[in-house]
């Protein structure tokens, strides 16, 4: 009798523990190209290395086509509690937690919304990529917090290429980086 009670207790405990644990983790969900669109820019999300996602503690998952859009969402929803946040490895598209990934930024890198930030599962592969490309600044998730997009994001649309007379340098920055572009825009007038 006692054994059974004990067994019951143990199994109940395990179940509760498992259930409890289940609530704490926010696993990445796959991208479905037919229905998923970016929560910020409305573009269809490609199932590629640029896709990112976050899940709030309420259990709602938001997907983005570019890490820059995820950043914008976080700014717009500063009060939201985020349970899990994932980016992808540039090489094998494996989901990696946002704060554990290594990032490489260069204004010339192309990405769906032209933020020019690529993510990698470790520092070594990120370094290898910058060597191969001959450019790119290595960053951590902490560095991203102070990345230019933060302060210039709001101006992205407004200052984007004031007027039509852009020199080539201006256009280059414009395509690749919102932050730099915002500066370009205000400079050119």
């Amino acid at each position: 009798m006692k054994k059974i009670t004990l067994m019951l207790f143990v199994s109940l405990f395990t179940i509760l523990l498992a259930a409890g644990c289940g609530k704490q983790t926010y696993e990445p969900v796959p991208i479905d190209e037919t229905v998923d669109k970016c929560a910020i820019c409305n573009m269809q999300i490609k199932d590629d290395a640029f896709a990112t996602q976050l899940t709030t503690t309420e259990g709602k998952t938001f997907k983005f086509d570019d890490i820059g859009c995820m950043n914008e969402w976080k700014e717009k929803n500063a009060e939201a509690k985020i349970g899990g946040e994932y980016v992808r490895d540039y090489n094998d598209k494996e989901w990696i937690p946002y704060d554990q990934a290594a990032y490489v930024y260069d204004a010339d890198f192309k990405s769906p919304m032209a933020y020019g930030i690529y993510s990698f599962k470790d520092k070594a592969s990120a370094e290898a990529f910058t060597k191969e490309q001959g450019k790119g600044r290595l960053m951590t998730a902490a560095d991203l917090a102070s990345h230019e997009w933060t302060q210039n994001k709001a101006q992205m649309g407004m200052d984007m290429g004031e007027g039509h007379s852009h020199d080539e340098g201006g256009e280059m920055d414009m395509g690749a980086n919102a932050g730099a572009t915002a500066n370009m825009g205000s400079d050119s007038h």
Binding site: E33, T34, V35, K37, C41, N42, M43, Q44, K46, D47, D48, D108, F109, K110, S111, M113, A114, Q133, M156, G157, M160, G161, G163, H164, H166, E168, E171, M172, M174, G175, A176, T181
Partner: protein, 437 residues
């Protein structure tokens, strides 16, 4: 994607083993300014046009030398290529045709590519005309994943180009322009692609008389200034749950006029856009006519919204001027007989707000309870988007041929569907009956 243009040189630069007969040798032998006619035939080689030649290549099919490199490179100012068929079977990031010089002309090309069709990189004043871009046969059709597809005509940092009378089918984005300004996109046809025409960070783009069907979205304008979007026709774009006729995101100082958006999921989707004008557009038979979100100081005038399931969804938008549009679901009142209703057409944002937070609430669409709730929350009705002077009858169409176009949801089809439903209902009632025990 970086390095897309980086490793382009290797394959094409060195003449292949074909020897004297190779096309590259013929091009090398020609003097700048000369017209060269290439002998028809199929060639497994890649070519580079690195001086100002006018190359006539009717009947020539070029399949490249294998590997992810451009099959044709136009790298000299003023070079021209006419009538060539270009096939690039290798996957990757290199295009079938790469244009990297100014004032290049390509005309009548027939391109089949597993990656990009035509790419312009820092090319200004070039012309792409009368060409067809399609994917390799296995990438056609719905089974192909978007990730495997590339853009048809792809511009980056290229200004003042003319893209005219091309046809792009089954690619990723039909015509993609990034950081490219003052380009004219005229009379192109795009179908079965993701976005027909996709602008990212562009100024002064002119999009006129383009048409498309079965794309996810006809024109996708993102972070665009000073564009002109006129007389385009985008129909039957409802294959994807997210499809739109045209989507405008962060668009400014743009004029959108005389377009026809029929049978799409959303006709016009407008978000975070300012100081634009939408006039004389036909937005008909869409699921949602127009979605206007977080946008200010736009003018929507003389548009026609006919037979959309939901005419409008507007929220977070203020200072927009909506005038003299025709909303066929709206019952106006016109005592003065001037053709303009004296009651405004007001757009209740309640449903939009509800479903934005929890999309599953869409199931309450048009439910009696929803109607009731909508009528309760009208405290801030003054802030809502409204057409102050809606028309009683649709304004005369500026585009002539609207009537000749077959209605995608024709009356006959609707009739047949209705009849089928009736028959089904009757059958069920007869078979199952109501049992009295």
């Amino acid at each position: 994607m970086p390095g897309a243009s980086g490793h382009a040189d290797s394959a094409a630069a060195s003449p292949t083993e074909i020897g004297a007969a190779s096309l590259q040798n013929r091009l090398d032998a020609a003097k700048p300014g000369e017209a060269v006619t290439l002998p028809p035939g199929q060639y497994a080689e890649a070519i580079v046009i690195s001086k100002r030649l006018i190359v006539q290549a009717e009947g020539v099919t070029l399949t490249g030398s294998g590997g992810d490199a451009p099959v044709v490179k136009l790298a000299a100012e003023g070079a021209e290529l006419h009538g060539m068929a270009v096939e690039k079977d290798a996957a990757g990031e290199a295009p079938a045709v790469l244009i990297s010089a100014d004032r290049v002309v390509v005309d009548g090309l027939r391109i089949k590519s597993r990656s990009y069709g035509i790419q312009l990189r820092k090319s200004n004043g070039s012309t792409i005309r009368g060409s067809v871009v399609a994917p390799t046969d296995d990438l056609k059709g719905k089974s192909a994943r978007q990730t495997d597809k590339r853009n048809g005509i792809d511009l980056f940092q290229s200004n003042g180009n003319l893209i005219q009378e091309n046809r792009v089918t089954g690619m990723f984005d039909g015509i993609y322009m990034e950081s490219s300004h003052d380009n004219a996109v005229l009379s192109n046809e795009i179908d079965h692609s993701r976005y027909g025409i996709h602008c990212m960070y562009t100024n002064g783009t002119i999009m006129r008389r383009n048409s498309g069907e079965f794309n996810v979205t006809g024109i996708m304008a993102m972070i665009v200034k000073g564009a002109e979007v006129t007389d385009n026709v985008f129909t039957r774009q409802k294959g994807s749950v997210n499809s739109q006729g045209m989507l405008f995101f962060d668009v400014q100082n743009t004029r959108v006029a005389g377009n026809e958006l029929t049978g799409n999921r959303v006709g016009l989707y407008i978000e975070m856009s300012r100081n634009n004008v939408w006039e004389n557009n036909d937005v008909s038979y869409n699921f949602v006519g127009i979605q206007l979100l977080d946008s200010q100081s736009n003018r929507l005038e003389n548009n026609r919204f006919v037979s959309n399931v939901i005419e409008t969804q507007a929220d977070g938008s203020k200072d927009n001027e909506l005038l003299h549009n025709y909303w066929d679901a709206f019952q106006g009142l016109d005592p003065s007989g001037d053709g303009i209703s004296d009651i405004p057409y007001v757009m209740n944002p309640f449903f939009q707000r509800l479903t934005k937070g929890i999309p599953a609430y869409q199931i309450f669409f048009q439910s009696p309870g929803m109607r009731f709730l909508e009528s309760l929350f009208t405290a801030d009705a003054k802030q809502w988007t409204q057409d102050r002077e809606p028309r009683m009858e649709p304004a005369l169409s500026s585009s002539a041929s609207t009537d000749s176009r077959p209605n995608p949801w024709s009356a006959a089809e609707t009739g047949i569907a209705g009849a089928a439903l009736l028959v089904a209902a009757l059958t069920i009632i007869t078979l199952m009956g109501v049992k009295k025990s």
